[in-house]
């Protein structure tokens, strides 16, 4: 949303400047000059968001069986390679290039042409591009939680290239790049729609279309290394400060309040999840803490820059309970979302997007909007609209893509290879030789 502002501001300044017959160069100077403090925070934020993807690899890797730990991590690591190249070549241009019909950017910034050290807002354009790149990377990595322990590595690579191009890039454009959701005025501070709902829904489609893991649910498939999962969750939390507070696109009050909202919601969500399972199953668990943590981080993502600390506490606590319930429901619904990418990112993201419609207040961020609890029902409607369209669009395109890839090269490893484990069958390696 802060992006909305800076772009609107730039526009207004330009218009004003033109009206005053001042040269655009001067207007540019007013609107856009690099601030070293803002740039410092965004440099760090970008590095922190990069670190989230390896963090996710560990978070997921610890939850699978030992024989699949590397293959699970590989889904995330290869995303760092593949999506960086895609984004550099044309992805950034599609998402943030000059708008075409409120739907997509063009190819005019192919190969990052024109995306250099010059100021965009108060940070270098190249840095804004890099920050956004890290979001695109982690989004596809999130999906891998649903396909872990059975999807072919080669098919996953093809899938993420296409999915980023056809699903992520357009949605990013709609919400942040000048597309229709931006115009609509729905709020998504750091990617509830763009990152979590899209990844969560794609994960659900993947889980259903791939089918269950061999032996699921009869055979127990406990996490092989929860210390790895805890470490991964901790790195996610750390990186998420860059994700959310970095989305202020500068260093200052908005970054600080987003930071606080992130921290408070995450803690509250840990308490929410753990309390739910303590009451429901009699014991608070370490995996529950890690899961609650991520649920809270997801839910506060769209809201971080618009809500008070106490609202963040409510959003987080509810997120912990909702995501716990969603994960419980999976058993009854019968699909095998191996690591609950839908239950946590899809449901948590949706709750966060809707909650923004309730809790947002211009008292926190004048560039935002008031939500229902502050007397403005319109925002909630916009939020719901944006959620529904994102869900439907993702659903349809992801389904089509998977169908096509399945026809062309198959989605799943051989039965024998699955039993042997994907580490050996796909990568010729063992995670541990103890």
């Amino acid at each position: 949303m802060s992006r909305v502002i800076s772009r609107l501001k730039a526009l207004l300044v330009t218009l004003a400047a033109m009206g005053a017959m001042a040269g655009p160069a001067q207007a540019q100077e007013v609107a856009d000059a690099i601030d070293t403090g803002d740039t410092a925070w965004l440099l760090v934020s970008t590095a922190m968001v990069m670190l989230m993807t390896p963090g996710l690899a560990l978070f997921y890797g610890g939850m699978v069986r030992r024989k699949n730990v590397l293959s699970t991590a590989m889904y995330s690591f290869i995303a760092l390679g593949v999506i960086t190249v895609q984004w550099t070549l044309f992805g950034y241009s599609l998402a943030f290039g000059p708008d075409i019909g409120s739907v997509i950017g063009g190819f005019s910034m192919f190969g990052l042409s024109g995306v250099g050290g010059q100021a965009q807002g108060t940070i270098p354009a190249a840095l804004f591009m890099a920050f956004q790149m890290m979001f695109a990377i982690i989004t596809v990595a999130l999906i891998s939680g649903a396909v872990a322990e059975r999807m072919k590595f080669s098919s996953f690579v093809v899938f993420i290239i296409l999915w980023t191009t056809l699903v992520y890039d357009p949605i990013a454009h709609w919400v942040w790049g000048g597309g229709w959701i931006m115009s609509l005025g729905a709020l998504d501070f750091a990617g509830g729609l763009v990152v979590h709902i899209s990844a969560g829904v794609a994960a659900l489609v993947c889980a259903v279309m791939l089918g269950k893991r061999h032996g699921y649910p009869a055979e127990p498939m406990p996490p092989h290394n929860l210390t790895m999962t805890l470490l991964g969750a901790a790195l996610l939390w750390f990186g998420w400060f860059g994700f959310n507070a970095g989305s202020a696109l500068g260093s200052g009050s908005l970054a600080a309040t987003s930071f606080v909202a992130t921290q408070v919601a995450t803690a509250a969500s840990i308490m929410g999840w753990v309390t739910a399972e303590w009451l429901h199953r009699g014991k608070p668990t370490a995996l529950g803490v890690a899961s609650g943590m991520v649920s809270g981080l997801v839910a506060i993502t769209p809201a971080a820059g618009f809500v008070t600390p106490l609202s963040a506490m409510v959003i987080g606590a509810v997120a912990g309970v909702i995501c716990y319930a969603a994960v419980m429901a999976k058993g009854r619904l019968g699909y095998d979302d191996s690591l609950d990418a839908f239950g946590i990112h899809g449901m948590g993201g949706a709750w966060g997007a809707v909650a923004t419609g309730f809790f947002a207040t211009v008292a926190v961020n004048s560039a935002g909007a008031d939500g229902l609890f502050y007397g403005n029902p319109a925002l909630l409607l916009k939020q719901l609209t944006s959620v529904v369209v994102t869900v439907l669009y993702t659903l349809v395109v992801t389904y089509g893509l998977l169908k096509a890839i399945d026809a062309g090269m198959g989605l799943r490893v051989d039965h024998e290879d699955e039993i042997m484990g994907l580490d050996l069958s796909q990568h010729g390696e063992s995670g541990y030789t103890m």
Binding site: G215, E219, I419, M420, L424, H427, G428, E429, S430
Partner: protein
Amino acid sequence: MKKIEAIIKPYKLSEVQERLNEIGVHGMTVSEVKGYGRQKGHTELYRGAEYSVDFLPKVKIEVVTPEDKVETTVDAILKGAHTGSIGDGKIFVMPVEETVRIRTGERGREAV
């Protein structure tokens, strides 16, 4: 008393356990082992260097049982562990001269 040792494929353990339960065998000891035999191993790759790994993960089950239950026990394991593909494993039967339950000091048939 006899000890029945079976070397089986790891993912067949729960099936074997069920079969044994069905015939009333409620005690056993299990361990992770590596097997070498006709089933060929696999190749691992580390920085382009290939290692051939001949030893495959197997599970060893040990059941001590009175003589008259040996055949049914062997059969139960056979049913539970059989897949028909190479590497299904072996069953060995060995004599046991004495058995003791540590908790009570009971010996022989009473002990298992």
